[in-house]
Amino acid sequence: MITTRWTSVSARRVGPYEVIRYVILIVITLLILGPLVWTLLSSFKTEAELASRPPQPFPQQLNLDNYTGAMERFPFATYLKNSVIVTVGATLLTVVINTMCAYGLAKYNFRGRNFLFLLVLATIMIPLQVILIPVYQMMARFDLVDTYLGLIIPPAATPTGVFLLRQYMLGLPDELIEAARVDGASEFGIFARIIVPLCGAPIAVVTIFSVVWRWNDFLWPLVISQSSEMYTLPVALAQFNSELIVPFNYILAMSVVSMLPVIIIFLFLQRKIVTGIAATGLK
């Protein structure tokens, strides 16, 4: 009786569609979060607990042995360090060169400008997967195989970043730049002191994208890192998982480590990421 009155009083009609929608969305949520939560819980379990039947959802205690063990008994600290160096280095490079390139394409009139912009857009169609071999040869020619620079440079010139920043800069008034020129500011000074401070929002989006991409990158680091000292975290996890040398409880702990930074970024910057994608329709 009471429940029926509740629904009739509520402003919104709750029909069968609304109920089905909740059911579907809750099932999808469980399908997505279930494996992730299970992984997190399992990363605290001992090898014996992991093998126990039936599987226990919760670890007996919150022990961090898998995390410390992986770092101490295997060079996961090195892989983590490599991932951080590559992610930070590539993101800094990406943001600097993408912003400069976008400014050049957005605010100057010069011969070939449109052609160069179209060329940048066209490279979205040529992903690394397809040109893997010649890019690798290029790196070999520069002696950059198995180096940090080799890991960092080729993926840094993201066409998506140039596109996103250029579109934003087109909306900035030209008068600002002209006024600064009249005041005798140098071309680079105008860029650094006037344009960059106004581009906080798109630069933030490019930064977030770049961090996520480079942190998760796999195929390129797999190809370019020949010695295991240069492995990034995803490469190390993939290699060790197939070789069965590293106990799986360590792999689980390191999987959590690889997912954690991205999840934290997501929790704090979810809105920026979502609007960024909605604005460009690009990943």
Partner: protein
């Protein structure tokens, strides 16, 4: 060119010929364009060239003409890989379009928990695909995996998710959807939000139901966005590699080996076949390019009609 230079020299110098404003744009775009040129544009061309050569070590190259292409198109392995790739991509694109549209429609109007559900479906896109593949491989393991332990407990047996090729082909589609549908749903959602709410008023007055409103009004207006989703998901389908690598390794018995893995293994695992791998990459590039242009043209034609 030389005539230009001569006339420029002949002109009296009222102002300096080259000002900062003239060189500045080139300096601004130089670093980015240099990397593009060296690591994207030049390699895109040299990929075609390498496909006419054979090399066992990446240093000495022997010109072989069309041989790599002849070899590729007469090898059973290539056809099996091509079949796997097309099957995966078709299933992935179709289910992505249906799934992301359904998700976007469900997540468009206001209701309690909408923000939470939007965040959750988008989360997998940000995770490392390698790690996701690894974790699903662990959950789907034949005897000790969480899923089969659960299925076994309720008497449903232990399906060979990763050992029965016909099943594994669908497992990689499912995991691909798990990773990517949230991203495509978000694109569809931005398309839905671009639709003027007033167009729905007429349908409401006519008393059209949800399904009719969707087929008659929403879907036709959503088509351009769906085209973006089709093209993007197709490109990502043809290039699927990382999560499959850790989930199945391409197995069982090559049932889930797709094009990029084929190219990677021919180029970087012994016996090294650079030329053959490049021929494969050229074929992949042409197929992706052709499909993209075709769906684009098809989308334009439908819009015009």
């Amino acid at each position: 060119m030389s005539a230009d230079t001569v006339s420029a020299r002949a002109r009296p110098r009222a102002r300096p010929l080259i000002t900062g404003k003239m060189i500045a744009p080139y300096l601004f775009i130089l670093p980015n364009m240099l990397i593009f040129g060296l690591f994207t544009i030049y390699p895109a061309f040299s990929m075609f060239r390498i496909s006419w050569y054979d090399s066992k070590d990446g240093r000495r190259f022997r010109p072989v003409g069309m041989e790599n292409y002849v070899e590729i198109f007469s090898s059973a392995e290539f056809f099996s890989v091509a079949f796997n790739t097309v099957l995966f991509t078709v299933a992935f694109v179709l289910l992505t379009v249906v799934g992301s549209t359904a998700l976007a429609v469900m997540l468009n109007d206001k209701f309690r928990g909408r923000g939470f559900f939007r965040a959750v479906i988008f989360l997998p896109t940000l995770l490392s695909a390698v790690v996701v593949g690894l974790l699903w491989g662990w959950i789907l393991e034949r005897t000790n995996g969480l899923l089969n332990v659960a299925l076994d407990a309720i008497g449903l047996g232990q399906p060979g998710w990763l050992t029965d090729g016909n099943l594994t082909r669908w497992v990689i589609v499912a995991v691909g959807l798990w990773i990517h549908s949230g991203f495509y749903a978000l694109i569809m959602l931005s398309g839905l939000q671009g639709i003027d709410p007033s167009v729905y008023e007429a349908a409401q007055i006519d008393g059209a139901g949800r399904w009719r409103t969707f087929t008659q009004i929403t879907w036709p207006l959503l088509r351009p966005t769906a085209l973006v989703v089709i093209i993007l998901s197709m490109i990502s389908g043809f290039q699927a590699f990382d999560f499959i690598w850790t989930l199945t390794g391409g197995g069982p018995v090559g049932a889930t080996t797709l094009m990029v893995q084929f190219i990677y293994q021919k180029a970087f695992e012994s016996p090294v076949r650079y030329g053959l791998a490049s021929a494969g990459a050229v074929v992949l590039f042409i197929v992706v390019f052709a499909f993209t242009v075709l769906s684009f043209l098809n989308g334009r034609r439908q819009e015009a009609a």
